[in-house]
Symmetry: C2
Subunit: 225 residues, 2 copies
């Protein structure tokens, strides 16, 4: 598989392709052209073919793409078949919701354990995942393979916990705290953020933009009428 500086934009589109291909599979669609795929995703056929060409040749002239084949290729590119294992740190509301509801295995991950300080949680199990004491975090990491830590701790301990994780060899962090973790320090982990507030504020912007546009239009037509 080629791996030559693929742009962030391309990478962010890959999960969307995967999702669409799964949907097509469910609907019994076995074959699709870049044109049709573009229609359904709001992208140009050119862009889709360019995106795929970063990684190889998955189609066939005159035919298009075989849906299951393309799906499995993209899954492979995303690393879904690598069996990464994860731990979750901080079993608050969001942590709990993820443990109960989010199907890590659907995306190739194994959520092996969770950690919290609350005594009443320690020793219990959510969604089949055991909750251990934060005191055992370091020893756990050192004795088990941990590729990703899901960070769902309170804001004020986010940086400290990240430091502990990183220093003990955790390479990647899925960050649900509203804290910017990627300070350009020494051995920076890979950080992927879920910033709820950033998302909501973008939405707020788009609503405001649309309202302002409408207000302008209304004012204009009032003048005319």
């Amino acid at each position: 598989m080629k791996r030559l500086k693929v742009s962030n934009n391309v990478i962010r589109r890959l999960p969307r392709y995967l999702r669409k291909l799964d949907e097509l599979s469910e609907n019994g669609v076995n074959r699709i052209s870049s044109f049709e795929l573009g229609q359904q995703l709001g992208l140009t056929p050119s862009q889709i073919r360019q995106d795929f060409s970063c990684f190889g040749e998955f189609g066939q002239q005159g035919y298009g793409y075989n849906v299951p084949v393309l799906r499995s290729q993209i899954a492979g590119i995303l690393g879904m078949d690598r069996g990464y294992s994860a731990i979750l740190v901080g079993v608050g509301n969001i942590g709990h919701a993820l443990m109960d509801n989010f199907c890590f295995s659907d995306w190739g991950f194994h959520l092996a354990a969770a950690f919290d300080i609350k005594p009443s949680l320690i020793g219990t199990t959510f969604g089949g995942v055991p909750i251990l004491s934060m005191e055992d975090l370091v020893s756990y990491i050192q004795s088990h393979p941990v590729d990703v830590a899901v960070l769902t701790v309170p804001k004020d301990v986010a940086v400290t916990v990240t430091k502990t994780l990183t220093e003990n060899g955790v390479e990647a962090i899925w960050n649900f705290t509203n804290v910017e973790l990627t300070e350009p320090n020494s051995n920076t982990p890979i950080v992927e953020n879920i910033h709820f507030s950033d998302s909501l504020l973008s939405l707020s912007y788009f609503i405001s933009e649309r309202r302002d546009e409408n207000a302008i239009k209304a004012a204009r037509s009032e003048k005319q009428g």
Copy 2:
């Protein structure tokens, strides 16, 4: 305020600026240059000045930017002072977590009510927000101002519920379901997605990329040594 086709990239950076400015304020920093801000955010000073210039002139030559002033300008651009009201539909794990934990008012929103079908939930309150029956959803929307619906329902009803919301005048949807809602239909609402799986898969990609690079390096140095 200017509003001339601001690119998506710029809009997505605004919440980050806001977050950083809040942090600076907390640390008692009252003044900052685009150079210093760039350092702290990993952006070029040029880009920061370009971004701001989409909306007006917020700085002062030879001085830089006044932190509280810039903060309030960006808050205004994002629409944080517009008092948008929201409802939440689907009080499952994620819905519950948002109601309990996510401070809507911090971002200028008012979460007024939540809706679910589960009888044991109806009539109760989470985080001060009353839970009403789904049967009352339409009448509620028609008799109250609802700018945004937070969509935290199960996957299979996401499209139906969205249709109901849109048809009754809800303009914007904050979508937590793993479903692509923006089909190029008629009166499309504004949709902002939180796709957990997309995010995790991107992370998966980045880990895989790094591992592959390291493997290549290792193989290379083995050959040499």
